[in-house]
C-alpha cells in the first residue's frame, strides 16, 4: 500500500483513524471524518483516494476517457493552496506523476483552459467554482467523470448558504455518477451525524469516523489585579493590555483574536503605544486588508518572524502556523466551538497542549472563562444549524444549470428533493421557481419582454450570451456591502472599507485602517485616495457584524457555573472565586440569578421605571423576549419601552410604572400563543427587509455590475429595498419574500430557542426584587449604548406622530 510505503519513508506511524479512513475509502464507502487540524486528516483521506485513483487508472488506461477523478472542496482559498502542497508532497515523494491543480476565482484563464483540455487528476476548488463549472457548456460530460469528492471544513460551510450551494452541486454530481464517493471533513460540532446526513443527501448511509485524539487545551482567564477597579460594563477590554503584553513577551508567537475589525485596529494601536519596540514584529490581520498585506502577515507567521498578530475571524480557519504557541481571545468568543477552534491555532503538533488566554472586557464576563473550561471538559458543543428552503440559492442554481447544458425539470426536481435543504419543496413551489426564471413571476402584461431562461422541447436554457455572462459573474452566496478600495497616492492598494463609512468622511479627515492613521485626500468612483497622517487621533471604521449572540451551549455553561456557585459544598473555579465580592454585592442589592431561577429587578431612577431580566440566553433571544414582553404588557395598557440588552439579560425602560407581579400572574411569561404574540410584537417587516438584501443578491435581482469594467449597467441598478417594496405591493406571495420572513423567524428571532427559553422559565422560580440601586448584573445592560424602542404602532401612525412633533 502506498500509505504504508510513504509513512515508512517518513519514519512516521499512522494514527488509528487514518488507517480506518483509508480502509473505508478503499471499500467504496462514503462518510464524514471528524478530526482536529494538524493530525493528518488530509492524508487520512488522500491515501485512500490515491489507492483508488491508481487502480482506476490501471483499469481505464485510455487517456481519452480520463476526466477529473477527485474534486477537493474547501471554503477558503488559502486553505486550497495548503491542500495542493500537501497532496503534491505525497505525489512527489512517491513519484506518482499525478496532475494536482487548483481552481479558484484567482485561477488564470490560461490555467483554466489547460484544465479543460488536460483534466487534472485532482482539482482543488471552492463551492462557487463548482457552480461555475456547472455553468459551462459540456459540463455534464466533464463532471460525470468525477469519482470522488472531498468537502473540507464541512462544518464551516454547513451553517451557511454556501453549504446549500454545496448540497446542490453534490445532488447533480451524484446523479451524473451514481457511484460517486463523498467524504466530508469536519471539526467537532454537536450535530456530526446530521452533518454527515446532509452532506451525503437522502438514501445515503455512510460512516462517521472520529479521530478521538486526546487534545489538551489549557484555558486561562487573564484577571485584573483588583476587581474593584475593573469596569462593570464595556466591550474593548483595553484595561488588560499590559497583562496581554506580558503574555506576548513570555511566548513564542501569539495570535490575539478580537471579535470585530475595529476592535483589532484599536488593540493593535494600543499594544504598539504601550510597547513601541513591537513595531515591525506586531502585525494586524483582518478581512478588509489587501490580499498582499494578509499574505505578508501569514508568511511572517510561518517563518516565525512575527512576535504577535492581532486578528479577527480572518485567521480562524486555514493553514497551521507552526511557530504559534499562544492564543489570546479578547472579549467573549460567543461560542464554544469558535473558542476551541481559535485555541487550536496553537500547539497543533500531536500531543502538544493548546494554550489560550481569555481576556474579559468587563467584570461579569470573567465568568465566561470558567464556563468555557467547564464546556470543554464536558464536551458541550454547539450544533451547526443548516439552512432549509433557500429559494434564492435554488433560483440561482436553476439559472446556473440553464446557462450550462440546460436542464429538464422532471430530472432536477427529484434530485433537489434528495437534499436536506429542499426536501420539503412542493411541486407547486418548484413550479413557482420555474415561473420566476422563465417569466419573471406571474405576468399579465401584454407588452412584456421578460428574458432570462427559455424553454425549448422541455429543455430549460439561457440563450442570451449577455444574460449568461451576467449570471456567471453573480454566482455565489456571499453578498457584501458596496466596498470602496483604499489606495495611497502611488496607487498602492491597502484594503477595502464599506462605502458608507468613507461617505461620511470629508477630505482631510483621518481614520485608522491597517494599523495606520490615514488622511482622506479624495474619493473617485469607488476609490479612496489617502496618505499617512501624523495626527494622533482618527476615527476607527466600525464595521457591521460582530453582533453574534452568545451560543445556546455557552449560555448553558454560564448558567451551570452560577448554579455551581450557589452550592458552596462544591469546589469553585478561580474566576468565580475572584468574582465573589461582586456576587456578594449582587446578593446584597438583589438576588443572584442562576439556571434555576429567573431574577427580575424593578428599579426607579430619574430616567424612569426599569425592569431588568436575566435569562442568560444571548442577544437575539433577549431581543425577541423583550419585544414579546413589551407587546404583552401593551395589550392592557399603552406603553412605550426603551430596550437595552446584552447576552446575559435585558432591560425595559418606561416612563410609567409596570406592575410586574400582577402581569406575571396574568400570564406575561407563558408559552400560550407564543408564536402569534412574537409575530405581532416585533417589527417583522423591517427585519425581513434587511434579510431580503442578501436574498435579492443571491437570486440575481441586484446586479453588482462587471468588476473592473465600465460597461453601462447603471440602468439595471436598484437597491434591494426597492425590490422588497415592490414585491410586498405587487407579489406578496413571492417565494423570495416569504423566505425573508422565514429567515427572520428562524435565525434572527431564533424562534426555537426563544420557545425553549420560555418553556424553561415556566418551570422556574421567579424572583422579583425591588432594588434601590443598579446591581452589578444590571449595570452592563444599562450602559449599553445601543437601545431600541418598541411600539406596535403602524408606520403611518409613527409618521403622523413625528410630523406632529415637528410642529
Amino acid at each position: 500500500m502506498l500509505a504504508e510505503k510513504w509513512f515508512k519513508q517518513k519514519h512516521w506511524k499512522p494514527h488509528q483513524f487514518q488507517r480506518e479512513t483509508w480502509a473505508a475509502v478503499i471499500d467504496g464507502e462514503s462518510g464524514l471524518l471528524n478530526a482536529p487540524t494538524g493530525y493528518g486528516k488530509t492524508y487520512a483521506l488522500w491515501f485512500g483516494i490515491v489507492e483508488q485513483l491508481v487502480a482506476y487508472r490501471q483499469k481505464h488506461p485510455k487517456k481519452a476517457s480520463h476526466g477529473v477523478f477527485c474534486l477537493w472542496i474547501t471554503p477558503l482559498r488559502s486553505l486550497s493552496q495548503e491542500i495542493v502542497l500537501a497532496l503534491n508532497r505525497v505525489n512527489e515523494d512517491l513519484d506518482l506523476q499525478l496532475d494536482i491543480a487548483l481552481r479558484t476565482g484567482d485561477t488564470s484563464l490560461k490555467e483554466r483552459k489547460r484544465q479543460l483540455l488536460e483534466h487534472p487528476d485532482v482539482l482543488i476548488t471552492t463551492p462557487e467554482s463548482i457552480h461555475l463549472m456547472l455553468a459551462q457548456k459540456g459540463a455534464s460530460n466533464r463532471l460525470k467523470q468525477i469519482q470522488f469528492i472531498v468537502v473540507d471544513e464541512w462544518h464551516e460551510l454547513l451553517g451557511s448558504k454556501r453549504g446549500v450551494l454545496t448540497e446542490l452541486a453534490l445532488s447533480r454530481l451524484k446523479h451524473l455518477n451514481p457511484k460517486l464517493q463523498i467524504w466530508g471533513i469536519s471539526a467537532t460540532i454537536g450535530n456530526l451525524e446530521e452533518a454527515k446526513q446532509i452532506l451525503l443527501g437522502g438514501q445515503h448511509n455512510g460512516l462517521v469516523i472520529r479521530a478521538n485524539l486526546p487534545k489538551k487545551t489549557q484555558i486561562t482567564t487573564v484577571l485584573p489585579d483588583v476587581l474593584e477597579k475593573f469596569p462593570w460594563g464595556g466591550h474593548l477590554g483595553i484595561h488588560l493590555a499590559t497583562k496581554v503584553l506580558d503574555i506576548i513577551n513570555q511566548s513564542g508567537t501569539t495570535l490575539i483574536f478580537t471579535n470585530t475589525r475595529s476592535q483589532a485596529e484599536i488593540w493593535y494601536q494600543e499594544l504598539l503605544k504601550l510597547q513601541p519596540d513591537l513595531a515591525g514584529i506586531l502585525a494586524l490581520h483582518h478581512g478588509s486588508l489587501s490580499e498582499e498585506i494578509r499574505q505578508w502577515v501569514e508568511e511572517g507567521l510561518h517563518k516565525g518572524t512575527l512576535k504577535a498578530v492581532v486578528c479577527t475571524s480572518s485567521l480562524d480557519l486555514g493553514v497551521d502556523f507552526r511557530p504559534v504557541d499562544t492564543v489570546i481571545q479578547v472579549g467573549s468568543a460567543k461560542g464554544i466551538a469558535r473558542f476551541l477552534q481559535r485555541a487550536g491555532r496553537s500547539g497543533h503538533q500531536p500531543g502538544a497542549t493548546s494554550n489560550i488566554w481569555f481576556v474579559p472586557t468587563h467584570s461579569l464576563e470573567i465568568m465566561e472563562g470558567a464556563a468555557l473550561r467547564y464546556a470543554e471538559q464536558h464536551k458541550l458543543m454547539e450544533n451547526r444549524i443548516p439552512y432549509i428552503r433557500s429559494f434564492d440559492v435554488l433560483i440561482q442554481y436553476l439559472v446556473t444549470l440553464a446557462v450550462g447544458d440546460g436542464f429538464k425539470p422532471q430530472e432536477i426536481y427529484p434530485e433537489i428533493l434528495q437534499t436536506h435543504c429542499f426536501a420539503s419543496i412542493t411541486p407547486a413551489e418548484f413550479r413557482q421557481c420555474l415561473l420566476l426564471i422563465t417569466q419573471g413571476g406571474k405576468t399579465l402584461d401584454a407588452y412584456d419582454e421578460f428574458h432570462k431562461v427559455m424553454v425549448e422541447d422541455g429543455l430549460y436554457k439561457v440563450v442570451s450570451r449577455k444574460i449568461a455572462m451576467q449570471h456567471r459573474l453573480s454566482i455565489g452566496a456571499i453578498v457584501s456591502d458596496t466596498m470602496m478600495s483604499v489606495h495611497y497616492l502611488s496607487g498602492k492598494y491597502i484594503g477595502s472599507i464599506e462605502e458608507w463609512f468613507i461617505s461620511r468622511l470629508k477630505t482631510g479627515d483621518t481614520f485608522w485602517f491597517a494599523g495606520k492613521n490615514l488622511e482622506l485626500l479624495r474619493v473617485k468612483d469607488l476609490r479612496a485616495i489617502v496618505k499617512i497622517s501624523t495626527k494622533k487621533k482618527g476615527l476607527v471604521p466600525s464595521w457591521m457584524g460582530g453582533r453574534l449572540p452568545l451560543s445556546t451551549h455557552l449560555s448553558i455553561a454560564i448558567r451551570h457555573m452560577l448554579n455551581q456557585w450557589q452550592d458552596q459544598s462544591l469546589p469553585q473555579e478561580p474566576e468565580m472565586l475572584f468574582l465573589a465580592p461582586l456576587f456578594q454585592e449582587q446578593e446584597k442589592r438583589s438576588a443572584l440569578p442562576n439556571g434555576n431561577r429567573l431574577v427580575i429587578e424593578k428599579t426607579q431612577t430619574k430616567e424612569g421605571f426599569h425592569l431588568f431580566f436575566y435569562p442568560f440566553e444571548g442577544k437575539f433571544v433577549h431581543e425577541g423576549m423583550a419585544a414579546l414582553i413589551a407587546h404583552r404588557l401593551g395589550k392592557t395598557k399603552a406603553y412605550t419601552f426603551s430596550v437595552a440588552l446584552n447576552d446575559y439579560g435585558f432591560e425595559l425602560l418606561s416612563d410609567q410604572e409596570v406592575f410586574i407581579e400582577e402581569a406575571i400572574e396574568q400570564g406575561l411569561l407563558t408559552t400560550y400563543q407564543l408564536s402569534q404574540d412574537v409575530q405581532q410584537s416585533v417589527n417583522m417587516t423591517e427585519m425581513a427587509r434587511k434579510r431580503f438584501r442578501d436574498i435579492a443578491g443571491i437570486a440575481g435581482l441586484v446586479f453588482q455590475g462587471y468588476p473592473g469594467r465600465k460597461i453601462k449597467t447603471k440602468h439595471l441598478q436598484a437597491n434591494s429595498g426597492l425590490f422588497f417594496k415592490v414585491f410586498e405591493e405587487y407579489e406578496p406571495d413571492n417565494l423570495l419574500l416569504k423566505e425573508a420572513y422565514d429567515e427572520v423567524f428562524d435565525f434572527q428571532l431564533d424562534y426555537a430557542r426563544l420557545q425553549a427559553a420560555f418553556k424553561r422559565i415556566s418551570t422556574q422560580e421567579i424572583v422579583i426584587k425591588h432594588t434601590t440601586r443598579l446591581t452589578p448584573f444590571a449595570f452592563p445592560i444599562f450602559a449599553e449604548s445601543f437601545r431600541e424602542r418598541f411600539s406596535n404602532e403602524a408606520l403611518e401612525d409613527r409618521l403622523t406622530k413625528i410630523i406632529a412633533q415637528l410642529e
Binding site: G441, A446, E449, H451, S464, A699, L701, F703, H715
Partner: protein
C-alpha cells in the same frame, strides 16, 4: 386634509402636490420630474425578476388622476421620463398620450432619456436639450450652474429625500421638495425610484407622505 401645499416662489404661486409633483396654476402646467417609465420592463428584459406591473400601473393611474383633478394645459417633464433604451412598454405611454390629444407635452431631456427622436415624435413630445426658460423660471433636468440673478431653476435628477428625527430615536426618510435659492428641486415622481438623502442646510424642505405635504 389638503392634498397640496401652495407656496410662493419668485412671486409665483406654486402648488406642491402629494403626488410628488408641482402644479403651476397661472399657466395650468403640471411639472413632473424623474418618472422612469419602463424601468421594470427594462429590468425584466435583462432577466432581472421583478413584477411586470411594478411601478407602471400606479404611475399611469396617478397621471390620469392628476389630469382629471387639475385639468392642465400642458405637462413639463423634467427629464428621465423613460428609464432606458426602448422596450415594448413605451406602448403604454403612447396609449396614455392618446387619451389627451389637447395636452401639450414637453420633455427636457435627462441623462436617462436615450430614446430616438422618432419615439418622442410618435408621442407628440416637444423636447428641449438642456432647459426651457419662461419668465423668471428655468426648467431643467439636473440643476444648472450660473443661474442669473433673479431667476429660479426648477429641476429634478437628484431624487431628494429628507431625514426626520422624532422623539425616542425614531427616524424616517421621506421624499421631499427642496428649496434653496436659486434651486427648487422636485422629488422623483416614479414609484420605482430610489431617493437621495439631501441635508436641509439653509434651505427649506417639504416632505411628501402620499397623503400630505408638510414643511419641516
Amino acid at each position: 386634509m389638503m392634498d397640496y401645499l401652495p407656496i410662493q416662489l419668485n412671486g409665483i404661486t406654486v402648488y406642491l402636490l402629494v403626488e410628488k409633483c408641482v402644479f403651476l396654476p397661472h399657466t395650468h402646467t403640471l411639472v413632473i420630474a424623474d418618472v422612469h417609465l419602463g424601468k421594470a420592463a427594462h429590468f425584466r428584459k435583462s432577466g432581472i425578476i421583478i413584477p411586470s406591473s411594478a411601478g407602471t400601473q400606479r404611475d399611469y393611474k396617478t397621471l390620469h388622476h392628476l389630469i382629471v383633478k387639475y385639468n392642465p394645459n400642458r405637462i413639463i417633464f423634467l427629464g428621465d421620463l423613460f428609464h432606458s433604451i426602448a422596450n415594448a412598454s413605451w406602448q403604454y405611454f403612447l396609449e396614455f398620450v392618446n387619451c389627451y390629444p389637447w395636452l401639450n407635452l414637453i420633455l427636457i431631456l435627462g441623462n436617462h432619456d436615450i430614446l430616438s427622436p422618432t419615439h418622442y415624435d410618435q408621442a407628440n413630445l416637444l423636447t428641449y436639450k438642456e432647459s426651457l426658460i419662461e419668465d423668471k423660471m428655468i426648467f431643467s433636468h439636473a440643476p444648472l450652474d450660473n443661474i442669473p440673478y433673479g431667476m429660479l431653476n426648477m429641476a429634478g435628477h437628484i431624487h431628494p429625500a429628507a431625514s426626520l428625527k422624532g422623539l425616542g430615536k425614531q427616524s424616517l426618510k421621506l421624499p421631499c421638495f427642496h428649496f434653496q435659492y436659486p434651486y427648487f428641486l422636485l422629488p422623483a415622481f416614479g414609484s420605482l425610484t430610489g431617493t437621495f438623502l439631501l441635508p436641509k442646510g439653509d434651505g427649506q424642505q417639504f416632505v411628501v407622505t402620499g397623503k400630505v405635504v408638510k414643511e419641516i
